[in-house]
Symmetry: C2
Subunit: 313 residues, 2 copies
């Protein structure tokens, strides 16, 4: 039995997870990210005990604790090098957590890697290579090769949101120009929607945004489904950005399975089908077995499950 | 002792290679690529015997034969799915070669994978993750993870030339728009040089091209070194394309070492130093150990050595 901690900028979510990836109990508290990290870790530790006892177990039965954290993670040191969501800089997360549970191995993962490993453990078993991407505020990614999270030599590999899709394009939060994340994230979609609304103030999309008093990742999708041509253009161009990045990843990795998660993935087949068509037309070699594409199914639980099972080895 | 076959559109080069990656003897013949594949394989087989005997050995001492072939390679079947350089379509290369050497295991690799494994075996030992890219007529790539060539689930993974660098950019030979290969290959550089010559017919670069009666991958580099500002612009923009792709690969893989090979790599530090600067400024996380960059050293021998040693396992 393992414990997974999904540390986010807003909430700390903790779950007790069995070896099959079932969540036996879960609980959460607000992160209150501006506190000293020691207080955040104390809450995490309390939640670990809480979920274990809630399921009728004791900490003696726990074989490992995994923490999925935002930011750049030095996996070997168990340290968060830095994070934007939680204002951390060289935080020794593993050592601090280990103070509460000195006999239980603690593993620190990047949150996108943890989510990928969760999806892999439940939906990707048997894949030689598995890729998960998350279309959220940013674009996260995780790669599992031969049952192991791929991390590169320094622990921060697998950043699938930060390859260039548009040479000399928009400046990314990472500092580089034209990252896939700038175009395929919810943030990118909102920017694309906002620009289209300025060009087409008469559109249904503009009306929806005005009624809701803000633009979200759903604005263009909802207006497109209601038949608005300006919104359809936004959605088509957005999906093209997403799909072009996915083809790139497939050409590099040729994974058995690539799953798409994050907020936008709730559009389901409306998102997936045009991506599949673009991918089928554009992958490098069409005359061989092709990577499968699917929508992620675990949503917010992926982080808990993946973090927990990442502590297995 | 192993034999490596580097099959190219122009020549078949074969070498006898020891376990350390030293070439003990080598020989080559023209491919004459339009012949039936059986004749090409017959020449390969004769060359294998020739190099072995030239070094004073017998085929009984050979532990494996590796063939690096252009095109999309079905590694498991030992088949060339298709190739442009040699007009092949579903050619059972391993089975045909095995007819000559039924007791020696034969391994078929993509040529870029073989070259990468050669560089790795000689220059990358101890790397957890090693990446080689080849800036040639196209852009090839190979990835070695935990001492194994990375191939993806269907055998054709590791195509580093075919991720999108310019969304909706130039049409690539692979069919997709805007592949890195279109901008970072010799072919791309020649196109960029040619366009600049049309814009700047008064430039030294234009004069060099007229004198030599053609444009090559060296035209802009040579003119830039001679102080031509128009050529310098071409070189700067070209190196930016190359470096932007390399940053993308580093952000994804975080390799211990990435080596740059192929014709353009002969520019040495003149190419490498500005790439290093761009990479240092643009990688995802600067506050952790960084991937090393180097120029490949084996040139044409990489394919022979890598093909040979790929037959090890």
């Amino acid at each position: 039995m393992y414990i997974g901690v999904d540390l986010g900028g807003t909430n700390i979510a903790v779950g007790l997870v069995d070896i099959e990836g079932n969540i036996l109990a879960k609980s959460s508290r607000p992160t209150l990210a501006d506190r000293p990290f020691e207080e955040i870790v104390k809450d995490m530790a309390q939640l670990c005990v809480e979920v274990t006892e809630a399921a009728g177990h004791t900490m003696d039965e726990i074989k490992g604790i995994g923490i999925g954290s935002p930011g750049a993670v030095d996996h070997a040191k168990g340290e968060i090098i830095y994070s934007n969501n939680i204002p951390w800089n060289h935080v020794p997360l593993r050592d601090e957590m280990q103070k509460y549970f000195d006999h239980i191995p603690v593993n620190i993962e990047n949150d996108a890697n943890a989510a990928a490993y969760g999806e892999y453990s439940v939906n990707g078993k048997g894949s030689k290579t598995f890729v998960a991407i998350t279309l959220g505020t940013g674009v996260g990614g995780g790669i599992v090769i031969d049952d192991k999270i791929y991390r590169g030599f320094n622990g921060i590999g697998g950043e699938l949101g930060h390859f260039t899709l548009v040479h000399d394009g928009i400046k990314c939060t990472c500092g580089k120009l034209g990252c896939w994340e700038c175009y395929a994230s919810v943030t990118g979609l909102i920017r694309q929607t906002s620009e289209a609304i300025q060009k087409h103030p008469e559109s249904q999309m503009a009306k929806i945004a005005a009624e809701e008093d803000h633009i979200s990742g759903r604005t263009a999708f909802n207006a497109a489904k209601a038949g608005d041509p300006a919104a359809q253009e936004v959605v088509d161009a957005y999906i093209r950005y997403v799909a072009d990045g996915i083809v790139s990843i497939i050409n590099i990795f040729q994974p058995d399975l690539l799953v798409i998660g994050g907020g936008i993935s709730k559009e389901g087949d409306y998102l997936l089908e045009p991506i599949k068509r673009f991918v089928a037309e554009n992958t490098y070699c069409k005359d061989i077995a092709q990577s499968k594409l699917a929508i992620a199914t675990l949503f917010n639980d992926a982080g808990i499950i993946g973090a927990a099972l990442s502590a297995k080895s």
